[in-house]
């Protein structure tokens, strides 16, 4: 088991390095750079000389391999450098936005789990009944509805029914929890619905599989009440795949809310990413991608550790 875990742990590093390399190459293939864009307004009036000097200031005149090496060595020391557009340290740029995106992701996860587990279990227990069909249609609809459109519909309904708009200016939770929730509950609901659909389907199919196992039949045969069978035996064993899906979705949510943030005018990581791409702010894009992919890779690793811990077959040498 330890051998498996160590191997799994070490495999994270080539993946992270691959992400770094891919990001580094991709953004440099995008036409134009930060210097060109900054002086785009007064093109022609700025001499080539000034542009070159600006590039040298950011190290963009260095050979690519050296730029990459400098950056990766910095990242290894957790130093992401400064934003090329604003000049502020990357950590300062990201900190508040990360808090915002993280909060929305956590709230959406809560919405999803609270909806998904009861619905999924119910659908599995009543397989092929009208309840099952209703839950399935509800969850397939959740997968089909774009969260950003659901967000627009929420805003519209609040306007028409309550003549009220959620606040458009972000208040941190520690300043005023009430103001903060009034704004963030709506994106959390819009994203949470889609998210819950993924989790509901997983809960349902995992429960269906578990309910067919021999140990459930044994539990029934020895006369255990249904509630205990569900709580002690079925749900516990069905939760593993559900937990995986929830964890992976969560990891993606932190950076993947690009469109929903736009609708609710939230200044989160997604919006920051779009702006950074528009500005060709290499250092900021690189840091954001490393952050999002890093969270995903670490969550993935932790899930594997969890699996190996719960199910010893996974880490056995013959795999």
């Amino acid at each position: 088991m330890w051998k498996y875990l160590v191997k799994r742990f070490l495999l994270m590093f080539p993946t992270l390095l691959g992400v770094a390399l891919l990001t580094f190459v991709l953004i440099r293939v995008i036409p134009g750079d930060v210097v060109e864009l900054r002086y785009a307004g007064d093109r022609g009036s700025v001499s080539q000389d000034v542009l070159e000097k600006e590039r040298a200031r950011f190290g963009l005149d260095q050979p690519l391999w050296r730029q990459f090496a400098t950056w990766v060595l910095g990242v290894a020391r957790l130093d992401f450098g400064e934003s090329m557009w604003t000049g502020a340290p990357i950590w300062q740029e990201i900190r508040l936005r990360f808090a915002l995106s993280l909060q929305v992701a956590i709230m959406a996860t809560l919405v999803a789990v609270v909806l998904a587990i009861p619905l999924g279990v119910l659908a599995a227990l009543k397989q092929d009944s009208w309840i099952d069909y209703a839950v399935r249609i509800f969850s397939i609809a959740g997968l089909a509805t774009p969260s950003f459109w659901l967000g627009i519909v929420f805003i519209l309904l609040l306007l028409v029914v309550f003549h009220w708009l959620p606040p458009m200016i972000y208040t941190p939770f520690w300043v005023s929890p009430w103001e903060n929730l009034k704004q963030l509950i709506w994106p959390a609901l819009a994203v949470g619905y889609r998210y819950s659909a993924v989790a509901t389907r997983m809960t349902r199919s995992a429960m269906l599989e578990v309910l067919r196992e021999d140990y459930i039949r044994t539990a029934r045969a020895k006369g255990l009440v249904q509630r205990l069978i569900l709580a002690r035996h079925a749900l516990k064993n069905a939760m593993l795949p559900v937990l995986t899906v929830v964890a992976l979705e969560f990891a993606f949510l932190i950076g993947g809310l690009v469109v929903t943030e736009q609708v609710f005018n939230l200044n989160g990581l997604g919006l920051l990413f779009v702006q950074a791409v528009a500005h060709r702010d290499y250092t900021l894009i690189q840091a954001l991608v490393m952050l999002v992919a890093g969270v995903f890779i670490v969550v993935n690793f932790l899930m594997d550790v969890g699996y190996a811990w719960i199910d010893p077959r996974i880490s056995s040498p013959d795999r």
């Binding site: 089909a144 509805t145 627009i152 519209l156 779009v274 995903f296």
Partner: protein
């Protein structure tokens, strides 16, 4: 494991007589046993018809600006109202189905197919090739779909073929991952050994003997991707990074003015969203039933 029935290598390639009749029977069985899936399929057929007959069905040019009829309410002249340029919303919805289907099918067919080839190849060759390919896939899988697509659009520029490319790329590793695990089991089948013993080349074995046998997971991935591709196109167009004005596209119709005028002209915001949801819903419904029908483990006893 019984090895009684070793299929002749060529067996999967030639369609036996009566294939049409068998397809018809299978289709009838599908409609009977999986009502939800059949409903999804029906919506998809209607959507195709609408896309094909768009010029006949719509009474307005989807790109024609009419400043005399800006933000008109739904009426007999404009069934679903007009947008802030006076363009007919219904006509734009009808023509938008072409964009959605084109990008949806283009991206998902290409993504699923390339992924399938990589997945089968990776499983077939095994060893180092498999190990390295898996690491590369891991890297691509670590990006959220929308983030990778966004970066690719920025590189390629936003024409429709480029949009298809940008949405296709993140799908490849997802398809490869699933197909690889199915292909691993097929690699151990006797007919693959037989083909190798017969002296066939690697390309031939992968393309003609292994690929046809991963059709079930392939079709399941494909239908799942269809919905995702339509959603991704809508999201990118909504951000202004996908289809560009004045082309009719559902995500684009939700952009800008639709949100600004949401209170006075809600039809602008509501109908395109419904069109996206309904079409993705239909594809998912159909895909789900297809998965249940193709995967014997999921059948209810």
């Amino acid at each position: 494991m019984a090895v009684a029935r070793v299929p002749v290598p060529e067996a999967v390639e030639a369609a036996p007589p009566g294939a049409v009749a068998r397809w018809l029977a299978a289709t009838r069985e599908f409609c009977r046993a999986r009502t939800l899936g059949a409903v999804g399929a029906a919506v998809i057929v209607v959507m195709f018809a609408v896309a094909l007959l768009a010029p006949v069905l719509s009474s307005y040019d989807p790109e024609a600006v009419d400043f005399g009829a800006m933000l008109a309410r739904p009426s007999l002249a404009h069934w679903l109202g007009t947008d802030s340029f006076g363009r007919d919303v219904l006509s734009r919805l009808i023509f938008g189905s072409r964009t959605a289907l084109m990008v949806g099918f283009g991206a998902s067919v290409l993504g699923a197919t390339l992924g399938a080839i990589l997945g089968v190849g990776s499983a077939y060759f095994g060893g180092r090739v498999d190990l390295y390919l898996q690491r590369v896939m891991d890297v691509f899988l670590s990006f959220p779909l929308i983030v990778l697509a966004l970066a690719l659009v920025a590189i390629l520029g936003n024409s429709i073929p480029n949009l298809i490319m940008a949405i296709m790329v993140p799908m490849i590793p997802r398809s490869a991952l699933v197909i690889r695990s199915s292909a691993l089991a097929i690699r151990e089948m006797p007919f693959v050994d037989a083909a190798r013993a017969a002296g066939f080349g690697h390309a031939r074995i992968v393309l003609r003997h292994m690929l046809p046998n991963v059709m079930a997971p392939y079709l399941i991935m494909l239908t799942a991707f269809l919905g995702q591709a339509i959603l991704a196109e809508a999201s990118l167009s909504f951000l202004g990074l996908g289809v560009q004005e004045p082309t009719a596209a559902w995500g684009l119709m939700l952009r800008g003015a639709a949100v600004e005028f949401a209170e006075t002209a809600p039809w602008m915001a509501i109908f395109p969203g419904l069109a996206i949801s309904l079409s993705v819903f239909a594809f998912n419904l159909f895909g789900d039933s297809l998965r249940d029908a193709l995967d014997p483990r999921l059948r209810t006893q």
